[in-house]
């Protein structure tokens, strides 16, 4: 019973402790997770062109293991956003609920 009575105050202190950290997260997220701006389209096109040309010329093979690992992780992260979107679209976390 005592544990149940403590729960609201525990929740409040957890929220109070989490709020400044969440604010810091928000400040970073506003910059780092912002959608691309229209003015950045030329840079995006250039980036895609670079990817394609390095795929064609085989330049992607001339990188260090560290670079390749980092690029793989970044690519994986970008692709995982698809699955986040799928979960939002199907409004369920595991499988399709029909």
């Amino acid at each position: 019973m005592a544990a149940v009575a403590k729960l609201p105050s525990l929740m409040n202190s957890a929220l109070a402790a989490a709020r400044p950290k969440f604010n810091i997260f928000l400040q970073y997220a506003k910059v780092e997770l912002a959608p691309p701006k229209l003015s950045e389209i030329p840079q995006i096109r250039a980036g895609i062109g670079k990817l394609l040309s390095s795929a064609k010329s085989g330049a992607w093979r001339n990188q260090t293991v560290k670079q390749a690992t980092l690029n793989t992780f970044v690519g994986m992260e970008v692709i995982f956003w698809f699955y986040v979107g799928e979960c939002i679209g199907k409004r369920h976390i595991v499988g399709y609920k029909v």
Binding site: Q27, E32, P36, I79, Y83, V84, E86, I88, G89, V98
Partner: protein, 77 residues
């Protein structure tokens, strides 16, 4: 902005940002489309199942009757 503990925010390459957001929207559309398609398919299946259940229940009832009659029959042999 100056009170950030981990230094100034990293400049994310526009290509990565574009990739993230386009994959996210593609995922949302994909998920919604397939949710819609699969739920339509499933409602059709449910209708068929409901129809078949009536037939199956009738069949089971008849079989039970025959079985009940059969036990009497055998005891009379």
């Amino acid at each position: 902005m100056s009170n950030l503990p981990y230094g100034p925010p990293v400049k994310i390459s526009p290509l990565i940002k574009f990739g993230r957001w386009s994959f996210l929207t593609a995922g949302i559309l994909y998920g919604a489309f397939h949710q819609n398609r699969l739920s339509k398919k499933e409602t059709k299946l449910r209708e068929i199942e409901a129809k078949e259940k009536v037939i199956r229940d009738e069949k089971l009832r008849k079989e039970k009757e025959i079985a009940a009659a059969g036990t009497i029959h055998y005891t009379n042999l």
